[in-house]
């Protein structure tokens, strides 16, 4: 993506929220990104269109998977300094608690960075970061060709 390439060329960190807002699917969900001292923090405000079970009500498993995968992607772009968007190879998601109708957060960390593939772990929570509602473990192919 141009945003990443331009920032890299200027020796800067890409604007993570501008990057997320440039991804139509993330905008469709309503994802917001910001940087803090620990890396990229994603926020997903509650919206009725995110519901999978209307009785509980609970967030759709696909929403949870999507936010976790986006957190992993954003953290890899930020921390591994890739020149483009990483490509997911495989992911495994553990659903730990039901996602309630409230704001969610997610962040990821790189467990191992290789030259071509990155192993990344992500967690998603709502009110309490120590009580995650879901966790992701995955691999992504990365490209450093222009960095």
């Amino acid at each position: 993506m141009d945003l990443i390439a331009q920032a890299r060329a200027a020796g800067e960190t890409p604007d993570l929220d501008a990057l997320i807002q440039a991804i139509p699917y993330c905008r469709h969900l309503g994802v917001i990104a910001r940087l803090d001292t620990r890396g990229v923090l994603l926020e997903l405000p509650y919206a009725a269109h995110l519901i999978g079970n209307p009785i509980l009500p609970a967030l759709h498993g696909g929403v949870i998977g999507s936010l976790l995968e986006t957190a992993a992607l954003a953290q890899v772009i930020y921390e591994a300094r890739t020149s483009g968007l990483p490509k997911p190879v495989d992911i495994s998601i553990d659903y730990l608690r039901s996602g309630r109708a409230r704001t969610s957060f997610a962040r990821a960390r790189i467990a191992k960075q290789g030259r071509r593939v990155v192993n990344v772990h992500a967690e998603m929570w709502q009110e309490d970061e120590t009580k995650p509602i879901a966790a992701l473990r995955g691999h992504m192919l990365v490209d450093f060709s222009e960095t």
């Binding site: 440039a22 469709h28 999978g52 759709h60 190879v89 992911i91 998601i93």
Partner: protein, 153 residues
């Protein structure tokens, strides 16, 4: 001996088609039961994960397979109950071709008292050339109100 499907299964199919998030993605149920489900997700600009190429976000495939997996479990149950995804593993075999619909087909392999197991794939032109494959497990929430029972239309 063939039995006609119970009425709640029809409701289950309708529920899976109308789930808020699935509707938000603009997906549709195209096959339901017994013990399997097929869903179709037409391509749309709202699904794009890479604006340079138009390839859909990986989370789109995850959501489609999760939803289809849940439907396959419902289509394998003998009575209605709420279910919840326990885990889901997805292998992305190749990027989805922009502009083409994605079909997900998931089969429920086993239903135990507590857990149901599924396996399936997402593909475009041919089921033999999948975009992604998945394995998952779902918790069966016996005794907890199913979204189907108070059938609200």
């Amino acid at each position: 001996m063939t039995e006609s499907p119970p009425p709640w299964l029809k409701l289950a199919q309708g529920h899976m088609n109308q789930t808020a998030f699935f509707a938000h993605l603009k997906g549709e149920v195209v096959g339901f039961g017994p013990g399997r489900a097929t869903m179709r997700l037409p391509y749309g600009p709202h699904l794009v994960g890479n604006p340079d190429t138009g390839v859909v976000h990986g989370g789109v495939i995850t959501a489609l397979l999760d939803h289809t997996g849940g439907a396959a479990v419902m289509a394998a149950l003998k009575e209605p109950m709420a279910i919840a995804t326990l885990d889901l593993r997805i292998d992305y075999m190749k990027p989805a071709t922009p502009g083409e619909a994605i079909t997900a087909e998931v089969k429920c392999l086993k239903v135990t008292h507590e857990v149901a197991f599924v396996r399936g794939s997402a593909y475009q032109a041919s089921a033999d050339d999948p975009v992604a494959i998945c394995t998952g497990a779902f918790m069966l929430m016996r005794g907890i109100a199913s979204p189907l029972l108070p059938a609200k239309d």
